[in-house]
């Protein structure tokens, strides 16, 4: 019997749909398998945490999956090694990438696994994850990364120095920050600065971008195709302000290398009264300050516009590489991903190291609640997530921010160009990079 055209069409459709559904059904792990995760968690509490987590997973997973964790250096080194390993066919299954500079680079190449089908199959609750932390987890509608060791910058200050100058609270706005900075600025007989009221590191992708956001703009447009802050005057305003603060003498200009370490050392010597820095370093900051008798206050970042407070986030996301991997490897990688994103594990991760609890559920865990009770400073970081914002996704961000850093270095460290010249230079870079 000949099938009518319509019937054939319907049958074909049914077949395709069922085949499609069959193909989309993610595989389940069938037997023992070894997979590798590459990460940036260096020696000490950081590295220990992942080693212990991996050991726990290896001991408790019912499939016989064995995970090997290997440290590969900082974020740039790990990303570069991952790129070359993909080219060589020696890539790991899971890799820890910087959320903005790393994930987009691999995602745009199409080498990352879409975890959405797996999440759906296993009932993984994505709304358990704070939305701002997931901003760089989606690409082209696919779920390509999970927040793993996330942080946010905070305002750290020397409580005693502030009290001596009559400030009982941290500044809430940039205007108040300027007042505090000027008040705490001390000069010696030669007119050289002995104490700086505030310090700002050369991390414009974080701090300057945040200020621009508070002014109502952003570094790049929503579609990530062009730079918008150069035309609307917001970048100019931010750079001008920063340069003014440094010229007035109360804002410490960073050193050309190891700026963060130097800044923290100066803080511990009582030479810098306050600074912006990642919450990821909280444990070390508090411990080192205690060792020299300084009481550290921790607060939200002061905002340019009281009606629009915000803060950037940072840190690393875990992603699964699908290029050159078979179903079993991907399935095993997903099992580890689920494990690490479980509330208990995410809580332990945060409590041991000072990184943010990656899920709402983990924030409720006893180990985190106890930590926050004992040291409320850690809670400040998590609370700030409510006002956190993210830079729009763009494949050009990483290169543009690198050039922005170089130009800021000339503007703030070297001080050989003016803010207007910096804007001109940035415009040229934007033209070259955003092709």
């Amino acid at each position: 019997m000949k099938l009518s055209k319509t019937m054939t069409l319907v049958l074909c459709l049914l077949l395709t749909v069922s085949l499609g559904a069959f193909a989309a059904e993610p595989a389940k792990v069938e037997g023992p398998i070894t997979i590798t995760v590459w990460h940036t968690r260096a020696a000490g509490a950081n590295g220990d945490q992942i080693a212990n987590a991996v050991a726990r997973f290896n001991a408790t997973n019912p499939y016989g999956i064995v995970v090997e964790e290997v440290y590969q250096g900082g974020y740039p080194e790990t990303l570069a090694k991952t790129m070359q390993s993909i080219a060589a066919g020696t890539a790991p299954e899971i890799v820890l990438l910087e959320r903005a500079a790393g994930v987009p680079v691999l995602a745009t190449q199409g080498v990352l696994l879409d975890m959405a089908p797996y999440a759906e199959r296993d009932g993984f609750q994505l709304d358990n994850v704070p939305p701002v932390l997931l901003k760089y987890s989606y690409y082209d509608g696919q779920l390509v990364a999970m927040p793993y060791i996330r942080s946010t910058p905070l305002f750290y200050y020397n409580k005693q120095m502030f009290a001596e100058a009559g400030f009982t609270e941290a500044p809430k706005t940039i205007e108040e920050l300027i007042q505090v900075g000027r008040a705490l600025h001390k000069k010696n007989a030669n007119g050289e600065t002995e104490v700086w009221g505030f310090a700002l590191l050369n991390d414009p992708g974080w701090f300057i971008q945040n200020m621009i956001y508070q002014m109502g703009s952003n570094l790049v447009s929503e579609d990530g195709q062009k730079v918008i802050c150069l035309e609307d005057g917001t970048m100019l305003a931010a750079l001008k302000a920063w340069r003014e603060w440094v010229d007035e003498g109360w804002c410490w200009p960073p050193t050309v290398t190891r700026g963060e370490a130097t800044m923290k050392d100066l803080f511990n010597q009582g030479k810098i009264a306050s600074y912006f820095a990642s919450s990821g370093g909280m444990t070390n900051i508090l411990n080192n300050a205690e060792a020299v008798g300084i009481e550290v206050g921790v607060a939200f970042l002061p905002t340019w516009d009281a009606a629009r407070p915000s803060a950037p986030t940072g840190g690393g996301n875990l992603a699964i590489i699908k290029q050159g991997k078979n179903d079993q490897q991907l399935a095993a990688a997903w099992e580890f991903m689920k494990f690490v994103m479980s509330d208990a594990e995410a809580a332990g991760n945060a409590a041991d190291t000072g990184y943010l609890p990656a899920t709402y559920g983990s924030a409720q865990q006893p180990v985190i609640q106890e930590l926050w009770a004992k040291r409320p400073e850690y809670k400040v970081a998590f609370d700030q997530l409510e006002i956190a914002q993210e830079l729009p996704w763009s494949p050009y961000n990483s290169e543009f921010i690198e050039q922005l850093k170089v130009i800021c270095s000339q503007l703030i460290i070297d001080r050989t160009i003016t803010p207007e010249e910096a804007i001109e230079a940035l415009k040229i870079e934007a033209r070259l990079i955003f092709r």
Binding site: W38, R41, A42, A43, G44, A45, N46, G47, E68, V70, Y71, Q72, G73, G74, E77, K81, Q84, S85, A87, A88, G89, T90, S151, R258, E260, A261, K264, D265, N268, Q269, S278, G280, G281, T283, N284, I285, N288, A291, V292, G315
Partner: protein, 283 residues
């Protein structure tokens, strides 16, 4: 009168030498001071390392930094890797370099100019140019899990060939002629006559090779994807976790551990080196 003639000129000569001695001490100080600073910082607690004005001798001498490193890391594996890589490298380079330098110095053959030119060109290539290609090559040959990628790409020590050839060229013809008269084979001439005369150079080259491989960081970082083949340099760099903060005493302690073996080797070898340099050649 007798006493005058003894003390006068002697004292004058001594006094004349004093500025020279002081000058040399100052020079030695300039070179040693940073090293000294590194060592004493490793024995200070964190609070003291950032103290201002800095202390020239640890006030609160402590071994904490070392304990935290040695306790936390399985140093033996890294040290073992560094030793194997360094020693194998030296052996390989000697085997490759000595005949090549000898050939360039002693023979005229077609293509010699070109080949020596290639050796010189190789000297100019920074590793930033070659690393990606070599990594891909090592992956293709399935050598990535071994120590070989840290050793074989440097088999030809262009610097060594250049220096050694120079040394061989300076050996007087008579020595070689007399060896020929004694019916020595090429191999014998090379190893028993010319090599001993170039001993200072060979030792110098070995030492530079040793230091270069021992302190190498960038190349092993690229070539090692797993922990068990990593050398000591990578372990020590890992001590600075940027988001966490740098603890100077721990970092300096790590660097002291990294430098200590070289200093020990150098200390024992420098005697030999000075002896070798004292060799005057055929009189």
């Amino acid at each position: 009168m007798h006493s005058e003639s003894i003390w006068g000129p002697k004292l004058r000569r001594g006094a004349a030498r004093l500025p020279g001695i002081l000058g040399k001490l100052f020079v030695a100080f300039i070179f040693l001071f940073p090293f000294y600073w590194m060592v004493i910082t490793s024995f200070k607690p964190y609070a003291e390392t950032i103290q201002f004005p800095p202390t020239l001798w640890p006030q609160n001498f402590t071994l904490d930094a070392y304990i935290s490193i040695i306790g936390k890391m399985n140093l033996l594996v890294y040290v073992k890797n560094s030793i194997i890589v360094t020693v194998s490298e030296i052996v390989l380079q000697l085997l490759v370099m000595i005949p090549a330098a000898y050939a360039f110095a002693r023979y005229n053959f077609v293509g010699k100019g070109l080949m020596f030119g290639m050796v010189l060109v190789a000297l100019m290539i920074p590793v930033q140019v070659t690393f990606i290609t070599v990594y891909l090559l090592m992956a293709k040959w399935k050598l990535l899990g071994t120590l070989l990628p840290q050793i074989i790409p440097f088999g030809t020590n262009a610097f060594g060939i250049f220096l050694l050839r120079q040394s061989f060229l300076q050996i007087p013809e008579e020595v070689i002629e007399s060896a020929k008269l004694d019916n020595a084979s090429e191999l014998q001439t090379m190893t028993q006559i010319m090599l001993p005369m170039a001993k200072p150079t060979v030792i110098t080259i070995c030492m530079f090779s040793f230091i270069g491989r021992w302190n190498a960081y960038f190349w092993p970082l690229i070539m090692t994807d797993v922990e068990r083949i990593r050398p000591l340099t990578i372990a020590i760099e890992r001590l600075k976790d940027l988001e966490y903060g740098i603890n100077w005493s721990v970092l300096m302690a790590g660097n002291v551990l990294l430098v200590a073996p070289i200093v020990v080797v150098f200390f024992f070898a420098s005697r030999k080196i000075m002896e070798a340099f004292a060799y005057r050649g055929v009189k």
